[in-house]
């Protein structure tokens, strides 16, 4: 392949990542069908792949793709081949006056303030879809990822992802989900679903649940990009800024939390000079915006505020643990999550000593959701050892070692149990 063709393919990949969401969004508005819109956008991409290696990449590749997809849409409308539910209506408009129908299509493609993009986000994260389907569809339609890329990111077969996406599009069509931004109380509920999808995508990149790599930064970047776009489009919603703040600050530590051999490095042991200060500043600014907009902080903003306490501390000793306990108090009340309670116990130990943390942790022992959760006996063992109750601590570390599935962690826990047996904290 000649160099120019390679350049063109590289450019097409880049353009697709940046422009495909807007393209699909505009076309969904015209056709009323996400699946058809994506087909049209893909067709335009195929034309680009044929032409650009010879003609060169146009000055405004995004506009070129839009124009090409739009012509395809118009062709299809003229030929009456569109099988979606808009067919009759649009066909009628075309019969009534071809010229008058075409400017409307022009207007439909132009979306300077991103309303179509926002509508597309809400469709891709619609509650009629399963969580997996929302994640896959969002990455495909808004992240510009291929089915293969999504499959590799989540370590599932490509056919599974392809099926999920096909089924999701069919579900949306059959449910006749309108292409619109929900309003009022519905907006808050639907927004929660969009935020959850972005959060899930980020977390899968931040601490992968499966596979050899502990982090997959590309997924974090995709989530961050979607979050930033969303924060611009629904700028009055505090939790959007809370989520973006949380993701920016978490992402600032990406370089510092993996060792040379790919092993995880815990927060207290990280080289803080390796934290990305630009991302920290962006995160703190987003959190400030959330605080300005909200009376009491929501769950994402609270997590962002906790992350901010760590980000502001130049050394672990500088950490404002008292504030962190207050933030965890609020988060625990809001989420009622036992896992949050475990973290709250750790914060209390750091702020007010192991006895206060143990009190919280002891109340969790009978919690069924934590019966197999190795972190509860791990932190209880730690608190007990700090209090000099070594025999009880040893038993907790043994229990934790039996529960964890991570070999490195099991070794560490066994070592601590052995230390307790010798009376060392």
């Amino acid at each position: 392949m000649p160099a120019t063709a390679l350049d063109a393919h590289g450019a097409i990949d880049a353009v697709w990542r940046i422009e495909s969401a807007r393209l699909i969004a505009g076309l969904t508005r015209i056709t009323g069908d996400v699946g058809l819109a994506e087909d049209l956008a893909q067709d335009a991409l195929v034309v680009a792949l044929e032409r650009w290696p010879e003609s060169g990449v146009p000055d405004n590749p995004g506009a070129w793709l839009m124009a090409t997809a739009k012509h395809r849409a118009i062709d299809q409308l003229r030929r009456g081949k569109m099988l979606d539910r808009k067919h009759e209506q649009l066909g009628h408009e075309l019969d009534a006056g071809r010229d008058s129908a075409l400017p409307d299509l022009d207007a439909a493609i132009d979306d300077p303030i991103g309303d179509d993009l926002l509508r597309l986000m809400f469709i891709a994260c619609h509650p009629v879809l399963s969580t997996e389907a929302r994640v896959a569809l969002t990455l495909r339609l808004l992240g510009g990822l291929t089915t293969d890329e999504i499959a590799r990111a989540f370590l599932v077969p490509e056919s599974t992802v392809a099926q999920r996406i096909v089924r999701a599009k069919r579900t949306l069509r059959e449910a006749r989900v309108p292409f619109e931004v929900p309003r009022g109380a519905e907006l808050t509920a639907r927004l929660a679903s969009v935020l959850e999808v972005i959060y899930l995508v980020f977390n899968e990149g931040y601490s992968a649940t499966a596979g050899d790599d502990w982090v997959r930064p590309e997924l974090c970047e995709d989530a961050l990009r979607l979050g930033r776009i969303l924060a611009e489009l629904v700028s009055e919603e505090p939790e959007v800024h809370g989520l973006v703040g949380l993701l920016e600050i978490q992402a600032s530590r990406l370089r510092a939390r993996v060792g040379p051999a790919g092993d995880p490095i815990l927060l207290a042991d990280q080289d803080r000079t390796r934290w990305d200060q630009l991302l920290v500043r962006r995160g703190l600014a987003a959190l400030e915006r959330a605080e300005y907009l909200a009376g009491a902080l929501g769950p994402y903003a609270l997590q962002a505020a906790i992350a901010a306490c760590h980000a502001r501390a130049r050394t672990p000793e500088e950490t404002d643990w008292t504030r962190i306990t207050a933030l965890y108090d609020a988060l625990a009340q809001l989420t009622q999550s036992p896992v949050v309670e475990v973290n709250r116990a750790v914060a209390y130990t750091m702020a007010f000593g192991p006895a206060s943390g143990l009190e919280i942790a002891d109340a969790l022992v009978s919690e069924p959701a934590l019966a197999k959760y190795h972190l509860l006996p791990t932190v209880r063992g730690d608190f007990l050892a700090k209090l000099g109750r070594f025999e009880e601590a040893r038993a907790e570390f043994e229990r934790a070692a039996a529960l964890t599935r991570n070999a490195r962690e099991r070794d560490l826990l066994r070592a601590r149990a052995a230390g307790c047996a010798r009376g060392e904290p």
Partner: protein
């Protein structure tokens, strides 16, 4: 405004430290809930200076304005929707267990600086 009155001699140095810690924790909890405006303990009343202007003349005397057993020892300025909420917060102030917390609504003046 939550005004905290207590007998200054009632607390040992350790107890005062503990009191500051718990107050700091409460301030953070209120802040997270969007209810915090300001708070501070005050130095002992023995450090107070009272100022009056009479007939255009400034009269400055050492010591507090009133000699009573319980002195103003600190304050919390909070954002509460009603008296009930303010009372609930006042009861969480650690000094409420030893002294008295007076709950006083503030008068809102439109033209004050932020």
């Amino acid at each position: 405004m939550l005004l905290i009155y207590l007998d200054e001699q009632a607390l040992s140095a350790d107890e005062r430290e503990q009191c500051y810690r718990e107050s700091t924790q409460l301030a953070h909890q209120l802040d997270v809930a969007g209810q915090y405006v300001a708070a501070s303990p005050l130095q002992p009343a023995s450090t107070a200076t009272s100022v009056r202007v009479r007939a255009g003349k400034r009269v400055v005397t050492d010591g507090p304005f009133a000699e009573t057993k319980e002195q103003l020892g600190g304050y919390f300025l909070i954002d509460a929707t009603d008296l009930e909420e303010a009372i609930a917060i006042a009861a969480r102030i650690p000094m409420a267990r030893r002294g008295t917390v007076e709950v006083r609504p503030v008068v809102h003046l439109a033209d004050l600086p932020d």
